[in-house]
Symmetry: D2
Subunit: 418 residues, 4 copies
């Protein structure tokens, strides 16, 4: 009999189960040695030095939590899912431990300031997480020494290539442990009321049908609540213009850094932790050394560089002199602002940024595709997509008339001169 | 100078301000002697014996709170509104004390089990509240002895006939103190997560414009949140089929009682507290004696009457043998159930009830009309109705495809026989 | 093999498990047919018409919850205890179902306004609960038809005579499901912060040792927190002088009623629901008909009696004209007040009440005796009583200097005349 | 007329008042330009990179908040105090703005990892805060350009030398805005229940008497609750052995660093940000550049140094290989462990740490002294120290029998070898 079949979770139970106090789930329960080892790996501990919300804490000041606690939270939600009767029946012990690992590790590929960093350095965090799991790293070693096929089985869940779709859905789908934890956690930490929803009820209505996770009709309103919590958190918190302003500033710094490097500018600062990124040969080792502390250190150093732009942007970042923003009314307005910027000596490549967020809530609900559909199981055993069972989700999906939110971001000095 | 103009709130300040602990607002603050007297009037104290949610506590068992605490809560929300700069400027001291009184007293006309009772006895609770304020009662005396025109001024706020529209809006409109308190309170007491919204933010964006209350654009998402909280509370809590089942049972009892009375049935029970209602000459005095305790007493007595139907229904009510329910599929089905009922000896007038709740969230948002529109003030000083500023509210309003929820309610004995 | 040994919980599992929303425990889980039947018995449903906190809602106005929801809560805490490894091992399936029933039913013997009623009618609610379980009643029939010895086994838990001490401790001891639920619930409902403590942590440190429940040393601080929560709830909420005032008023009414009855006063009111109590032959049937609604009905009726005292006291009760109170300074003061009362025509037997609450927190911690000691298990496997492991509990126990809180309660009219 | 007397708060009101969402106080309100400028100073923004709880987030993982949000919170509590009638009367507008500034700035002298850092570098954070305010810095300039005496007036509040004692008490005393914010915040963020208390009630019972802040007797139980919250937070959270272990590790690194520097070890790493500290000539400028990011950078660098001890300790720190701990039983045990350490090649100066926390709750209540006494004002206008009015505080103070908690901290490798 193969290991996958003979493996029993109780064989790796900790002598004394661990519990970790958590503001969201009350306690995180750790029952198995493998999980405990992973929590203590250096890749996981590094996530303590990466904020969950990038620049959001510049506007929701108490939302300073890290990806580390979020990762523990996602693992805990998966654990609760695994306690339901339907998943107990559907999943082997080996599948269960694999999905716990995937939940815990799904974010280890996040760079500092997550999305801003990703935007400049062209490597998605999912790919990076997979690379960390499959190649040389502490977590790889822990998984591989447990069972040689395990790194691959865990990575397939994160990559959406695992044959058992239920495992993928648990970690990454329209209604997954990742989103459930972050909505609850980000809402609690930021002190907003928007992210509340009834997770217990959603989990109680979860069923397995045709080899995938579906939800009983009695759960529809709890799911609507979750969809709306998501919609509101996006607009109130994640897309807040001050957050965007902070992230644009970050990207301008990275862009200037890269441009200078490519132009053979001579840095006073020793860039060694950044070199792998500037030269595009990132190893797991070099990636693991890059956290927000290191980046803050460099920004501090950059305030002493001779290049005015790098120096100025870094100083703005450290001391929160964020760009101002306004609604962009027309192309002419943009041109006018650029002229003023030029006149004042600001390089528009780094100092004038526009972006556009379309108020399209269904985008948050997701593109079409099997995995992206929340399916509802009615009393007659029929499956239907959520919008057929929810007037409110359907109304949102069919709505056409969304205004776009186009904004321009620029230094206060330019604003004052206008 | 008329009293209304010369009156100053500080002249009626309590020597020592009262604070009342409250689970929702932390504290209810009572600053003025007039308010303290009203709180202690017998009409207000009677509301302690009327549940806020009628039959809802039969399904959300911890939602056992009374209209008394809700009334204190509405008053407290009005007090917070009055602390805002814009209302301080817009309202005279006399207007302020009037609207505080209206908030406190708006529900004194509620009969036992509120809506069920109203359905059978044809007097709206608003009309009854107005009657209690304008005619002989303790609250009338308290108001009139303060200032002879006051009963009328307070009643006009509740009746929507007051010349100062802001006062009406505060107590009764699409976004009023009444709804704000009950969504927060019913949600907290029932243990659901649906009713949360950010009241502080809504109050901070309140402005007066063209003589009415409007909201700054920066408050739109908090208002969306409130609209959706309302939508969910309606469907998850207020329209829960078990609640409806309980209320149908109540109405069947009242209906049977009335039919027997009109048919000159000889009651063993002395009906004196119910006579004014059975004979349609309700006085303030007789109304005030009718609370849920009295009704429970009568239902206990009815379990000893000879009439089988009254006896049986009352016993079901006291011991929570509620009617079962199912989705009604067709007219044929209804006929079939009625036949079975007849066969088993159940009188369909009292034992077979159908109702229909249309899933039309915009109805909760309200019919058109000036008062019923939430208006948004943009940065240019322009007013627009909420749906023009909110994609999600607009989507809901434009949606056409709502399924109706038609249900049939009947005794378990019939269900088992089908 | 005897039934007790062969019985398996899974044999009585509900086809579809029931969950009930609850503000304190999120959900109450009902897994077994027997429990569901008991919840729906008329004795349990009657508890919906008995308030958990007697007169406390006269001062903490939002604390209007019933003994019914509290009973569900105690059952739910027992259910959580039963999920711990140590109790799973220690208890047979039959013991488990018995203790669930005892938790649910422990309060069915409570009369209206609980303690005030008990004070006048000389039957403890525990004895009455036992009588309801052992003799003719719906709950008796449900238990007996499940297994003929069950009423007795459940009653023994409530009576503290069951041979298995663990079962008694779960329901009624220094640290039991009853107190855990009521501290959390009363605190939540009253909106105070005093009753919070970390139940999860306490349950996690629970162990069985020498046939009784003890707690690991790592739980000491959570238990200290619970002891202090208890201490504060007693002084802030349960012993609040306004609560005591309300209860004294109630007792005066009951006392006047009894005195009149014994003096052969001719009542206008038909007393039939009260007769069993006035004549001291209470049956289960008559007890079950007596709830707070009935008592409120009688108080309403009493406001129309000729006896001035009964009429006046009842009217004060319904309209919350509570007695005032002050610190009692001396015997002379008491005499003086009595003279004034006499002069004004108030009968001191009903209108002048004194009481004395000693500020002795250790009394709440309990008298000595095996069951009343919380025992702590240290890492070496030694047991010690809590005070040896907790400086703060020890300090409280050794403290001698407690002032007593002697108060006098009397009508406002007397106060004004002083 | 001097500036201090003529100054009016309304003269510096922001055109549009700022509100900042906060998880603890709902909103932080900023009404005045001066406060807004200070919030945006680089000294305040630096506090975003200093964790509030040092190493506590290694055991209460979700407690990752910074001194920045705590400082905003302390300011907000002071603002609420200033809204009370008694402080409005007692304080001039100038005093009010001074105490707001002091509340906001009281922590700007905190070094990275607060207490561990302080322990090694011998400068208290209060002294450093004062230095930042009095000498060259952005906050100094903002204050001085507002009014030349202001830096001194604000510093005197923090130094406890201000003539107006009420101002000192608000920011730093037994019952101050600092402790109120941190108990509530640390409790919320760590997910524990211990730190709750009723701040509203305490503030409502605050009075000024004899030129100092005292509390009405009706606030005693809320204050007891606060004292006990403090006691529990200390033992459950702040003195948790894992927190102490983390801090010992930090101190060992700093100690090794200093020893190497004094021994003229040649560092590979460029130490420039640390030099001012190693050479004891800290300027405001150099202090301001030192935050936790910089220290993390250095620890990362130290993992590449040749010195085994510095390298090893830094790696343990980054990857959370904390020292284990056990109760220290005897001097012999300590000697034995040191021998084993020596045998295994661990230098006991850095690898064997003992500490001792005495369980003396009254120490947390504070040493004697006028400022350190919470005084209670009774109905007769008499002042008494809290312990005379609180049995529980008195019991704690008179208790003699506290066990000490002496622990030894050492690497897992040594533990395994024992």
């Amino acid at each position: 009999m193969e290991f996958k079949e003979s493996f029993r979770l109780k064989d790796i139970e900790l002598h004394e189960k661990r519990v970790i106090r958590d503001a969201i789930h009350d306690y995180i329960h750790i029952h198995h040695t493998l999980i405990w080892k992973l929590v203590n790996s250096k890749e996981m501990q590094r996530l303590r030095r990466i904020k969950q919300l990038g620049g959001t804490y510049q506007v929701f000041h108490s939302a300073e939590h890290s990806r580390f606690v979020h990762s523990l939270g996602v693992y805990q939600v998966v654990l609760r899912m695994l306690e339901t009767e339907c998943l107990q029946e559907a999943l082997s012990d080996y599948d269960q431990i694999c999905v716990m690992c995937a939940a815990l590790l799904h974010d280890i590929g996040h760079g500092p300031f997550s999305h801003s960093f990703e935007g400049v350095f062209h490597e998605s965090h999912e790919d990076m997480s997979v690379k960390m799991i499959l190649q040389e790293s502490e977590v790889h070693d822990i998984l591989a020494s447990f069972y040689y096929k395990m790194p691959n089985d865990v990575a397939m869940i994160i990559q959406h290539t695992h044959p058992h779709q239920v495992l993928i859905q648990m970690v990454s789908s329209q209604l997954d442990a990742d989103r459930m934890d972050y909505l609850l956690r980000d809402s609690y930490m930021s002190g907003t009321t928007y992210g509340h929803f009834d997770m217990s009820r959603i989990l109680r209505t979860m069923r397995i049908c045709d080899g995938k996770i579906v939800y009983k009709e009695s759960g529809v309103q709890a799911i609507e609540n979750y969809i709306l919590a998501r919609y509101h958190m996006y607009w109130q918190v994640y897309y807040h213009p001050t957050t965007r302003s902070y992230e644009h500033l970050l990207q301008s710094i990275f862009k200037r850094l890269k441009d200078l490097y490519n132009d053979a500018y001579v840095f006073q600062t020793d860039l060694h932790y950044l070199l792998p990124f500037l030269e595009n040969h990132i190893t797991n080792e070099s990636f693991n050394e890059l956290d927000e502390s290191i980046v803050f250190y460099y920004f501090r150093e950059f305030t002493k560089e001779k290049d005015f732009i790098l120096k100025d942007l870094s100083s703005r970042f450290l001391n929160r002199r964020l760009f101002k923003y306004k609604q962009l009314e027309s192309e002419e307005e943009l041109q006018h602002i650029k002229e003023v910027a030029h006149h004042l000596g600001y390089d528009e490549r780094y100092y004038i940024i526009t972006d556009s967020q379309q108020q399209v809530p269904y985008l948050h609900y997701g593109q079409s595709g099997e995995l992206n559909e929340i399916e509802i199981l009615d009393n007659q055993g029929q499956l239907s997509p959520l919008p057929q069972k929810s007037e409110i989700v359907s109304a949102i999906l069919n709505s056409k008339q969304f205004k776009s939110d186009q904004k321009i971001f620029y230094p206060k000095e330019i604003k004052d001169a206008l």
